[in-house]
Symmetry: C2
Subunit: 236 residues, 2 copies
DNA sequence: GTGAGATTCAAACTTTTGTTTCAGACTGTC
DNA sequence: GACAGTCTGAAACAAAAGTTTGAATCTCAC
């Protein structure tokens, strides 16, 4: 049963990719939003089909089962995240500090537009908090390269090897500042009702994170590193 | 039905709090771990009772329903978090910079000991990512005061009002750096296998976050603030 | 020790949710 | 215009999970 549907799906995608793809695409689109909002477990296929306007059988017809649909959504997220503005920012030829600034902006900006496929990232976040069965591997495929490049970038700024502990801690500090807006968005909005994630506000936040981070990174780079630490106590 | 059980529970707690509390306590203990690991939706009461050794009816008998048990766990988390080391750190009489350092350490250290009731915080994190019905209010009760005090603390360091946008952004920067270890712990461990959250390592991480943050905060405090910004571009 | 209430237990019940079925509509081909 | 393959729709099915039941056991006051 399952296999025949899978093959049918394959046949479908090859033979009639234009018109019939509509329902399929609508499902992925709706599923992306719902999964991003509730996570995998808390999402029901009935909510997805209701939102997409499709019939409940469509999920199993096109994707085999709920996990198949989720896998498709996740793969699209990975693909989208990979070719995303982040890599474009990382690829540009510019001083490392400017690249870092562009990376922060790129990552944060996608939070501002809830209409557009921002759920790509939110889904990753859910994965991160509670991994689902078959896809920590998928997340890893996109997370590890990005992490690696971020380490290289920051290592370049503070003049340390990418794998140095200090480089990693700095990378985590930058990541954390961004993640808190993606993760704790709803909470922050409760604590700070005036917070509206307009493009202008997001720009200001990105600028702040850049300022905040560079205050340390520049200091760590300029000349003798131990001076910073030893101003407080001896280095380990 | 529900009310009669509730009243029975109340009676129970008053009349025989010692021996019979055992099952109840075991349930809360087990539920805390399971909820913290999987979140509310993905947790089954059967898993909880299996882990606690209790009968499946015990949950409904003692707490009315699954949400009642979860609420109890959450309230204990709130209570635990409230009297936690964080407030002790905030209450001490010391320079704001040292208090900040103590707060960072206190919050990060609880991550290091997974045996102890660390799930208090992890549950909050799950709440934060996907709020459950009846308790964003509860989270709010503990989050808002802590947030407020953090704003005052950081406002004190950079010499700005607590509600100033810049103060808030700085607070979020500090929060984010801590949260990333709580949230992304599993992922970070995959990306950086050598990462072991030993007490020593946690101390080093806490020191880094403090250094990293203070690099900006001190700079922001010292004299004219606009100098920092205008070194890049004009202030808004 | 007896009785009233509190607690536990195994089993059954109800709801939710993922999945399947199969009839019918659509689409493009000969 | 008939056919094959593709897709959709409403309903039914099955498994999982939350909840309830009622009898049995325990606790403790009298």
């Amino acid at each position: 049963m399952f296999l025949s549907q899978q093959s049918r799906r394959q046949t479908h995608r090859v033979s009639a990719p234009r018109a019939a793809a509509s329902t399929r695409e609508k499902l992925v689109e709706a599923a992306g939003h719902v999964f991003a909002e509730h996570g995998y477990q808390a999402t029901t296929v009935r909510e997805i089909v209701k939102r997409s306007g499709a019939n409940i059988a469509a999920v199993n017809y096109h994707f085999g089962d709920k996990l198949g649909l989720y896998t498709e959504v996740l793969q699209q997220s990975v693909r989208a995240a990979r070719v995303d503005a982040i890599n474009r920012a990382l690829d540009q030829n510019a001083p490392p500090e400017d690249i870092l600034r562009a990376v922060i902006r790129a990552r944060l900006q996608s939070v501002a537009e809830p209409n557009l496929p921002d759920w790509h990232f939110r889904i990753m976040v859910h994965e991160l908090v509670q991994p689902t069965p078959a896809l920590s591997r998928v997340v890893n495929e996109v997370s590890r390269p990005l992490y690696k490049r971020l380490l290289e970038l920051i290592g370049g700024i503070i003049d340390l090897p990418p794998k140095d502990e200090k480089t990693r801690l700095c990378a985590h500090s930058v990541m954390g500042q961004i993640l808190v807006y993606v993760l704790a968005g709803p909470l922050l909005k409760q604590l700070w009702p005036e917070l509206e994630m307009t493009p202008e506000q997001v720009d200001r936040i990105a600028e702040h994170i850049w300022d905040f981070s560079l205050a340390y990174l520049r200091q760590a780079n300029s000349g003798d590193r131990r001076a910073i630490v030893s101003s407080r106590r001896g280095e380990k």
